[in-house]
């Protein structure tokens, strides 16, 4: 009988204890972060969308070769003599026109392996993670700064240069047996 009343008392009492707890929580400020309006700061070295700073890119293709999923595609064209491509921020001289620099971020596995080999530190991970798209094709990011016309021009320039060189070579080959220093130079080639 004693247990019976103890049960009742205990039951009622614990209900009120619980109600006290929930009542206190009515006035606790909410812990929710209103995500699209408020963003929490991400950790310092978070790995999200890749970015390439094309001003610094020398087109060395090391990132593309480091990528385990082959999501970076790079094509380059050599510059012709007389063209000045400028220098990178750490003083390296650029020698290649980057005509294609595609990163298919849909393939990217965020391993950051492309970041380390970069000699000019121009490819890096950013804190941007809101880049969902309706079309998969839209996830292929193109970082090339040249316009298609310019790309054609550079390609053409280089082709011309090659053609000129080939013509020179052909001319040299067709020419009568040259003097000694010339022959040495040809051997080198």
């Amino acid at each position: 009988m004693k247990e019976y009343f103890q049960n009742i008392w205990y039951g009622l009492f614990t209900v009120f204890v619980g109600m006290k707890v929930t009542f206190k929580h009515l006035f606790v400020p909410s812990v929710t972060i209103q995500y699209p309006d408020v963003n929490i700061k991400l950790p310092e070295r978070e790995r999200n969308r890749l970015y390439v700073n094309m001003d610094d890119c020398i087109g060395c293709d090391q990132c593309s070769r480091a990528c385990p999923v082959s999501c970076i595609e790079i094509e380059t064209v050599k510059c012709i003599p007389g063209e000045d491509l400028g220098k990178t921020s750490n003083g390296k001289k650029k020698a290649l026109w980057v005509t294609k620099f595609n990163i298919d971020i849909a393939k990217c596995c965020f391993c950051q392996l492309c970041v380390f080999p970069c000699p000019t530190e121009c490819i890096y991970m950013t804190d941007v993670f809101e880049y969902s798209e309706y079309e998969r094709q839209n996830l292929v990011y193109d970082f090339v700064t040249l316009s298609p016309v310019e790309i054609e021009e550079k390609k053409l320039n280089y082709a011309k240069l090659e053609a000129e060189k080939a013509a020179q070579k052909a001319a040299a080959a067709a020419a009568p047996p040259p003097a000694k220093p010339d022959a040495k130079a040809e051997d080198k080639q």
């Binding site: 049960n7 009622l12 209900v15 109600m19 929930t22 929580h25 009515l26 929710t32």
Partner: protein, 371 residues
């Protein structure tokens, strides 16, 4: 065309009815219809508010924000939900018992709405001032059981049927302590008419039934502890009757999907939802009418003080809504505090604790009244 013919027939019948019965006035009939529709307006606005309140209260108790995108502070959330429910497809599965399936939500809501007929919103307004008010209320809430059982059976779904059966078992069990407490009240007051009951508790709050009822006899002070016990029992058992947590085993999301309304969608689901919240207010109103003076103000009326007679019913309505909504909020508070009971715990609470205590309470109060 059939509908049109029926309409013509109905209008003709109405005309002949009023011609043949000159004692029935058209204005009276219209007044009746309007007076029957008034609680509906109250119920709909209350439900719109209560659903939002439930979500907000739950959010705040769990340190969340709750709905806050639809309108300022999310106040239009329920309206948006309602519009969404109206637009939804009304799915009826091929193996459902269609007539019963369609009838069940209507029955559940009419059961919930029936209870509002006897609820005294103020001295000036009570849907139907019948003498069997308290008993009618219990009968009306029993009527809901039939609708729930019908919904569970017609859904042809094991979860629905289990939920409906649990609900029936629960409501039938918990009607006993409810009635025992109500009988206790009837023994003291000698009336089951809710308006008379509320009028008895007029004056100040110490005239409320929970403080032993009106008057200043020795019995009044003897009643007080037993009235408190009765109040707690009535509150718990009515909570169980409306299938709210911790007594929500008929719906038990984690066990039965959502119980008897698993198969319902669109407006029919909205009907169940509406009746659940309407029932919440109805039982809160009953508890406050029986124990806390119904529509009576605890401190007297400003209208009486200033001799503005029309202000008094408005104040009474305010106090009634205040008490009802307060108990609804306590129900929500309990919902987000307590875990769900098991079936055996539910039955044990009713048959081993509430009924014996209510019965002993009844006997003691009876003895005090006789002496």
């Amino acid at each position: 065309m059939i509908i049109y013919d029926l309409l013509i027939k109905f209008v003709n019948w109405l005309q002949s009815f009023f011609v043949q019965n000159p004692s029935v006035l058209l204005s009276d009939v219209l007044a009746m219809i309007i007076s029957a529709a008034l609680p509906l307006i109250f119920v709909l606005t209350f439900v719109l508010w209560a659903v939002l309140a439930e979500r907000k209260v739950s959010a705040w108790m769990q340190d969340r924000v709750g709905p806050n995108r639809t309108g300022p502070h999310g106040i239009l959330q329920t309206v948006a939900d309602l519009v969404k429910l109206l637009q939804k497809e009304d799915i009826v599965a091929s193996e459902n018992d269609k007539p019963l399936f369609n009838l069940a939500p209507v029955l559940v809501f009419s059961g919930a709405y029936m209870a509002f007929a006897i609820i005294p919103f103020s001295f000036a307004y009570i849907g139907s001032n019948i003498d069997l008010g308290l008993i009618f209320f219990v009968a009306a809430s029993g009527f809901v059981t039939a609708g729930i059982l019908m919904a569970g059976w017609a859904s042809n779904n094991k979860y629905s049927l289990l939920g409906a059966m649990r609900s029936a078992a629960q409501i039938i069990s918990y009607e006993i302590p409810t009635l025992l407490v109500l009988v206790t009240i009837i023994m003291i007051t000698g009336t089951t008419n809710l308006r008379t009951l509320s009028e008895m508790q007029t004056g100040f709050f110490w005239n409320w039934m929970i403080f032993g009822g009106p008057g200043l006899s020795a019995a009044k002070f003897l009643f007080i502890p037993f009235m408190f016990i009765g109040f707690i029992i009535l509150y718990i058992s009515t909570l169980a009757e409306v299938n709210r947590t911790p007594f929500d085993i008929p719906e038990a999301e984690s066990e039965l999907v959502s119980g008897f309304h698993t198969e319902y969608s669109g407006m029919k689901f909205a009907m169940f939802f509406l009746s659940e919240y309407a029932n919440m207010f109805a039982v809160s109103a009953l508890v406050s009418a029986v124990f806390l003076g119904g529509y009576q103000s605890p401190f007297g009326y400003i209208g009486n003080l200033l001799h503005i007679t029309w202000l008094v019913p408005i104040e009474q309505f305010f106090w009634f809504a205040f008490k009802g909504i307060f108990f609804v909020l306590v129900q929500m508070w309990l919902r987000w505090t307590l875990p769900r009971l098991r079936v055996d715990q539910l039955m044990a609470l009713c048959w081993k604790y509430l009924i014996p205590i209510a019965f002993v309470n009844l006997i003691i109060v009876g003895l005090i009244t006789v002496l």
